[in-house]
């Protein structure tokens, strides 16, 4: 079992990303949320549109998408490399995998922190604009 201890700690580091993903999902549920904007002309069905609009909101949404892309593209080879190492010991060295995990996890955490902060800013600004009387 001792041989796998290093890999387990690498997996634990990567698991931090799962927490980041929860934050990211929470923020994106709000960022991609729709609000009712009235009804269609001619008395049709209700109209829905994105809650947050403008370049700032668009940038934040693109960041969420970018982080999603990065998570998939960075963790797929990394976790695959860990698995491969179980069947072909020594294929990838543990220090190199650890270094890769630190870089990938750090970038993810940094990016998620920024997205959460920007999402909070957007919510703050909207709350201030709408006041207690939503339009």
């Amino acid at each position: 079992m001792d041989a796998y201890r290093d890999y387990v700690s690498l997996l634990q580091i990567s698991a931090v990303t799962l927490v980041a993903c929860v934050f990211l999902l929470g923020a994106s549920a709000d960022l991609f949320g729709l609000d009712q904007m009235g009804v269609e002309p001619g008395g049709g069905r209700p109209l829905y549109a994105l809650r947050y609009r403008g370049w700032f909101a668009n940038t934040t949404r693109h960041m969420v998408f970018g982080i999603g892309l990065f998570l998939v593209s960075a963790y797929s080879p990394f976790i695959s490399a860990l698995l491969l190492n179980l069947f072909f010991p020594g294929l990838f060295s543990v220090p190199l995998l650890a270094g890769f995990a630190i870089v990938v996890t750090s970038i993810t955490i940094l990016a998620v922190c920024w997205v959460v902060f920007l999402a909070v800013c957007l919510r703050w600004v909207k709350m201030r604009q709408d006041g207690p009387f939503p339009r």
Binding site: M37, E40, G42, A49
Partner: protein, 230 residues
Amino acid sequence: MSDTLQLFVLSGATALIFGCLLLGVFANRYRRTHSNGSARFITASALSNLSRKIQHIAEPGVEVLMPAGAGLYPLTLNAKERAETEHDLEKWVTSGIQYTVIITSPNDEAVQYWQTLVDRLPSGLKVFLLDRAKAFEEDAIEIERLDRFHPVLILKGQKPLGMWLEAVHDPRSSIAYNVEYVASNDIVDFQRERFFRFLRVIRKLTDEGRRPPHLTRLLPAAAAITSTAA
């Protein structure tokens, strides 16, 4: 494997997956923008998206009805983009397309801009101003609904050719949100009822024969002088 090779494999695989996914996203956007089929966009602009859809069905006898809110869209573009938009408009109007712009929140800036186009382009370009302050109550409600929701209808005679729906387009923004383009072959059932409902509303609001109090049409400067003199 050497450390360098291991690093190369890991980072190369990351870059490759990232690149492929990104390419897929762009290919999908390109297909939705450039094809003549139905498509949905979270954000879209009339210049880069609607124009391409119209180009597929542009032919003499086609009519485009475009509610434009405050009518400031061209003024949110840079000089090059605006020239491109005007060029497209000129090309369509000259080729026999009837292009009607409906401004539901008239303002001096927009009126001045559209007047220059009406003066310069053939009579295929019609610009209507709808003043809700002078409108009957029922019409005023519809004018207000068209302020930020822009259903652009494309038809020939009574045949629907396409419908471009912008759920929200803020007055001073070049971007519309939650946009849906419904192509001709998808305008059936619910979408057909929707198309003709919008058409009824727009026709009623811009019916020159009925002479509703809220309606003003921008005429070419020369024609306006003649009509005043008469």
